[in-house]
Amino acid sequence: MPEVELSEAAEELLANLWVMREEGNAACLPLSELETEDRDAAVPELLTAGLAQQESDMLSLTSTGEREASVVVRRERLAERLLVDVLDLRESVATEAACKFEHLLRTGIDDEICTLLGHPKVCPHGSPIPPGECCHAGAREAGKAVSALSDLVPGQGGVIAYLHSGRRQMMQRMLAMGAIPGARIVLVQKFPSYVFRMGERQIAVDRETAQDIYVRLTGGQPVRPPSWFPRPFRGWGRRFRRGRRGQ
């Protein structure tokens, strides 16, 4: 948690430094490339807070700054996710709105939003969201608005919000099988494998794949609590005779 409240411009600068590093560019930024206002206000702010260091005219992050910056980036990308997934804003609009919105989110709230969104791994543009403490917690609870399929309770369902997979093949595979954003989906069971239902179709996947499918929840509560035996055993003879001829 920052000792001092940073201004919007300083946070922006902090995040930019971090993103430059993430994208594999230089780890430091020449001061000359900054706008005048930033050089006058934001840079001294970062330096006094001990988040950045200056060598000749190059600006780079300190280790505290590194940590703080990842929190800022996390907030920014979570905000984008929130706007796209929950408020259904278009991605291009969302980026701009998220920049403003992000500064309103304070530490602590970001974990709540992360949980609300089902601990997303990437922002809508595909950049990774730095994980927070809530993402590592042992028992992850299902998100309240958006959740990875693997975190749902059997019987719970909603609409596929987005897919995310490190493996391009896997994502294309799921798309071809009909797991497409907008499709209605219900989790049927979690053990021994994840089984979900889309319309009348059932598809079984493993845990890793279930973690890649994010669902926007509808209804909230599970329709049917998980039970050991799906149906009572009575009436089997009748069902057998009817089921066979399909009448």
Partner: protein, 678 residues
């Protein structure tokens, strides 16, 4: 004459079409047309195929693959239809061997009519493929199949509406019960439909990219340029390869356009394309489909289907399937009753004596007559084993396997074992080759191609060679050990333990990505007898064609080995190893034979047990375990060489040989020192 009977007669007469009159159904066909059935797995394509073609089926492998493609003929009015059943495909962009074959068939041999078969109740999920087929440009019709299941789920359809919206003919059928088949026959036998003008609108950057790529493409892809452009945008490797060969000069320009378009999205382009198609599909399905809200309670099959996915009930069902299917049906009925009858009644009483007399009178030289009717003769050993022992066993197994496949049980088994199989470096999908291995390891090694990665294929090949006994071997083992329940339990426990342990080690030692699992679980259905029989028949025929020649070859090799005394040397070399695991000298011969056919080995022991009490109790169990693990048979080894390359094949064999004897040695040591009596 009923329509069915007329079809039957017309099929009978198809060979000699000589009747010249105009109206008669036996009149010569004036035109032929190729009809291709396309669709995702489990939508009843083969039921439609069987309804159209009857029993005139040729199941063959697509060149260079193990994917089975069924071809047959049908006659509608004066049109002779050549019907091809494509392997199941979810989209035109292939991810599996099956899908690649389906796509290549469409591209390389464009049909006169393409019939997209869909499961009616999943219409909105199936329409994206319909769109892709419309984009491809082949004359297309849509078949809403399994309409009865959809009705039971409370869904009703408006085929005319769908037909107007899509611009292609639409027909509703329930092929397994013969509903709507006459309408379908009229449709496929009638005039080919005009190409549809229906177009899915994609988002702007993609549409303009399509337009630009289309301009750069030449002709001759078997698809409309729009479809080619779409496949290129989705980075379809097969299509890029075709462009590299046909339009090499345009390649860099196309590459640039695709890269530019990709840069505008954060996902692969297949993502926005899939979303656009699905939106269009939902809109069309919504207009053509109505939910009557009438939900019928779950049928017995559905309940069984749910239970089969349950961790505890599923295991109980698995145990029941293994006991009734494998042990009683294949083991007792196939290996016991059928083999007994064929071997004792048919061969021992008639074939062998007759053949022996005949051959000995024609070839009075003992050396040569031995080749045919000696102890290891072509007829008395090769043919007898093939026809009297192995064929009934393998046939019974394939029948059971086809029932498991068609009822929808196998995918449920796959999801049940996925977690365990992950530990072995495999995914749940690998149950298909592993279970098939219990029938024939050679065929199963070929079928490992259904697995996604090379790592999985190598591990599955290794496990099949080491610890999965084939039905021929199982039959003999069940026959030998059925009177010793404890021995059977020890054998089962050790083999299962070796399977799990060696798979676990292989997963540790082999580098590569973790397997991923995804599988559509079709509804549990009562398998159609006709489909099951046709499938079993096709597989048995494959087996007979591939494996019986090898049986005969093995007889010749053994004959030469005996003649040149090479075998005596090999047997002598094996003797110390056999003694080491506590078996008498004669057993060495059985092990050597085990290489020619896995079951030869067990069968030799079987003969020895019956003739004397040379092997019984603990040594018998040790012998059975060692023979089960011992090297794969010649046929399987050849397939391993072909499929996995000589390095992997030789490595697998080199690991297995000492391993099998090592396990046998340890087992013998443990059992004797514990004083176990069997």
């Amino acid at each position: 004459m009923s329509a069915r009977a007329r079809r039957f007669v017309s099929r009978l007469l198809m060979g000699f079409r000589r009747c010249g009159c105009e109206s008669c159904p036996f009149a010569p066909a004036t035109r032929t047309r190729k009809l291709m059935l396309f669709g995702s797995p489990n939508v009843g394509k083969s039921a439609i195929f069987n309804q159209l073609t009857g029993s005139y089926v040729a199941v063959s492998n697509y060149p260079g693959t193990t994917v089975e493609v069924a071809r047959g003929q049908a006659r509608v009015g004066d049109t002779l239809l050549e019907v091809v059943d494509c392997p199941g495909a979810y989209s035109l962009t292939p991810f599996s061997e099956d899908e690649r074959v389906a796509r290549d068939m469409l591209l390389d041999d464009p049909p006169g009519l393409l019939l997209h078969v869909v499961d009616a109740k999943n219409l909105s999920r199936a329409l994206p493929l319909t769109f892709q087929l419309i984009e491809a440009g082949a004359p297309l019709a849509l078949d809403l199949n399994i309409i009865d299941e959809a009705a039971r789920a409370g869904l009703s359809f408006d085929p005319e509406r769908l037909s107007t919206d899509l611009g292609i003919p639409v027909v509703a059928t329930a092929a397994a019960n013969g509903v709507g088949i006459e309408r379908l026959r009229a449709l496929v036998g009638g005039d080919a439909p005009a190409a549809s003008s229906f177009v899915v609108e994609y988002p702007e950057p993609i549409e303009s990219a399509i337009a630009r790529v289309e301009e750069l493409l030449g002709a001759g892809y078997g698809l409309r340029p729009r479809a080619v452009a779409l496949l290129l945008l989705q980075r379809d490797e097969g299509m890029w390869e075709r462009v590299r060969q046909a339009d090499a000069q345009a390649l860099t320009d196309i590459e640039r356009i695709v890269a530019e378009t990709e840069a505008r999205y954060h996902h692969p382009l297949s993502y926005p394309l899939a979303v656009a198609r699905q939106q269009a599909a939902d809109a069309i399905a919504k207009r053509a489909m109505r939910s009557t809200g009438r939900q019928v309670r779950a049928s017995f099959a559905e309940t069984l289907g749910r239970l089969a996915m349950h961790p505890i009930a599923g295991l109980l069902i698995l145990a029941a399937v293994l006991y009734f299917g494998l042990y009683l049906f294949v083991g007792r009925l196939g290996a016991g009753v059928l083999v007994d009858f064929l071997e004792r009644q048919v061969f021992d009483r008639y074939v062998t004596p007759v053949a022996t007399n005949l051959v000995e009178s024609v070839l009075p030289w003992p050396t040569w007559s031995l080749l045919f009717v000696g102890e290891y003769g072509l007829i008395t050993l090769g043919l007898r084993y093939a026809i009297a022992i192995v064929l009934p066993l393998v046939g019974a197994f394939f029948l059971m396997f086809a029932v498991m496949e068609d009822s929808g049980y196998l995918p449920r088994l796959a999801l049940l074992v996925d977690r365990v199989f992950k530990r072995l470096g495999l995914s749940g999908r690998a149950v298909i080759p592993i279970v098939l291995g219990l029938g024939c390891d050679t065929m199963a090694t070929l079928v490992t191609r259904v697995l996604d990665t090379r790592r999985q294929r190598v591990i599955a090949t290794f496990l099949l060679a080491l610890a999965v006994p084939c039905s021929a071997q199982l039959g003999v083992i069940i026959g030998l050990l059925s009177r010793h329940p404890l021995g059977m339990a020890i054998w089962g426990g050790v083999v299962l333990g070796v399977f799990l342990m060696s798979g676990f080690l292989a997963a540790r030692l082999l580098p590569g990505e973790e397997a991923r699992f995804y599988l559509e679980i079709p509804p549990m259905r009562w398998p159609s007898l006709r489909n099951v029989v046709l499938k079993t028949f096709a597989r048995v025929r494959w087996y007979a064609a591939e494996v019986i020649p090898l049986f005969l070859l093995a007889s010749v090799v053994i004959w030469i080995g005996e003649l040149t005394h090479l075998f005596r040397l090999a047997v002598a070399a094996l003797r110390p190893a056999v003694n080491l695991i506590g078996l008498p000298d004669q057993a060495a011969e059985a092990f050597l034979f085990g290489f020619f056919r896995r079951d030869y080995g067990a069968a030799r022991i079987f003969d020895q047990v019956q003739s004397s009490e040379a092997v019984s109790g603990v040594p018998l169990v040790v012998a059975m375990v060692t023979i089960t693990l011992f090297v794969p048979c010649i046929a399987q080894f050849m397939v391993m060489l072909k499929e996995r390359g000589w390095r992997t094949a030789v490595a697998v064999a080199a690991i297995i040989l000492p391993f099998a004897f090592g396990v046998g040695f340890l087992l013998n040591l443990t059992l004797t020192s514990l004083g176990v009596r069997i």
